[in-house]
Amino acid sequence: MNATYEEILPGGAMWSMRIPRAREVRLTAMAAGANVSALLYHAENPLDRLNVPDTLKALHTAKLTRGHVLMSDMGRALASIVDDSLGWHDPLGGHSTRESVAAAFGSRTYQDARNEFFRNARDNFLVELAKSGLGIADIVANVNFFSKVVADEAGRLSFLPGHCPAGATVSLRTEVPTLLVLANCPHPMHPAGGYPRVPVRVGIFPCEPPGPDDACRLFRPECARALALSERDLL
């Protein structure tokens, strides 16, 4: 199906959009090693926003993949992961800052490098959120699409380089009108070296809202209840 809308986010880019209910948002890594830090808000009430702990404990998971429902702190399904070629997206590592980027990759300013300067997810979030009247208080725990962070038995965390091949995709279906905010910036645990700059394509497609036998609805009873709470908005 042709995308209703398509745009390629260069490495380092920021992006946000208000997306109606029942759209598929497909992210595609145009090269290996992508990371997209993401925040989601209910477009009509941004106080109703992605809650990573609520999502993880409802799904009994510390990773995100197909079938999972990204939940708000008001119990709503904001978006469901309807397709995923990778099997693991990171909900733990947080997002890069000016300081973390400088520590890992060095500093390259706009004056040095024009639009190739080293951007970071925090500054990108602040700019995109400001366009919707939001600010630092609205930056909660984010997810990192295309990245994998594992914990060992003692809880020690490690980032897995090489997790994301070129062409990797993940697709979200919006379950409420959603403000989606993306920062195509390196993962904050990415090993030091060259600043990774991986273009990511965003495509938005029409899709059906979830029916009674939808795979995400049936994934766990918690997913069905979160979808039911989102559907109460339609009463």
Partner: protein, 215 residues
């Protein structure tokens, strides 16, 4: 389970400047000055203490679970953990811990998350977020739901496996276990003594906790 990090404190309660028992299901909001030490005592065992910190001089700076676990490179909180803010600055440092492991990725219970996790009919049960919202509203401080992000669950056990699964297990805490932390900046501490009855985080029997502060 491994690497429980046991560390006793030598502090004498007789020298404390404040001690207060928070009944099950109740809350507490209090300023801890830079250099003061806060102890939270699990008086009867297996009781989750859902806790937030704000920078008292700039309430927009607040505890960040993701920054804390990434900066220490580990999921669980214990002695030596620096509790980091959303500006990635140390807010407090855990200096003693006789429980050995605390959670910060499980979040706090809320009416709505109880509906999702257990049943839509659970809406009307008491929950941590209601306590947080009420404490913030009564405090007179300019704190609202917008300022609530992701908290610490002292005394709670939420193990994660290498395969990426997560579960709420029986607590590893026991009567009298405590965790102690030194404030590295002036902080506003907000605690909900968790009333959750739907999972084992309070052993299905919420009980009081005690907070003790030393200069």
């Amino acid at each position: 389970m491994s690497t429980l990090n046991y560390q006793e404190s030598e502090r004498d309660k007789a020298a404390a400047v404040l001690s207060h028992v928070i009944p099950a299901g109740d809350g507490w909001i209090h300023q801890i000055r830079c250099g003061q030490t806060l102890r939270i005592v699990d008086l009867e065992g297996n009781q989750a203490a859902d806790t937030f910190f704000f920078h008292a001089d700039d309430l927009k700076e607040r505890y960040s679970a993701q920054d804390t676990i990434r900066e220490q490179g580990a999921l669980y909180l214990t002695t030596g953990t620096r509790l980091m803010s959303n500006l990635c600055r140390p807010m407090l440092t855990i200096t003693a811990d006789t429980c050995g492991r605390h959670d910060t990725i499980g979040g706090a219970c809320a009416a709505e998350s109880n509906m999702v996790r257990y049943a839509l009919e659970k809406r009307f049960m008491h929950n941590c977020r209601d306590t947080f919202l009420l404490q913030m509203a009564l405090s007179g401080l300019p704190l609202t739901k917008r300022d609530l992000s992701h908290n610490i669950n002292f005394f709670m056990n939420v193990p994660v496996t290498a395969a990426g699964s997560l579960k709420f297990e029986d607590g590893v805490s026991e009567p009298g276990k405590y965790v102690e932390m030194r404030a590295d900046m002036n902080v506003c501490c907000l605690i909900s003594n968790c009333p959750q009855l739907n999972n084992p985080c309070n052993a299905y029997n919420p009980t009081p906790i005690e907070v003790v502060v030393w200069d």
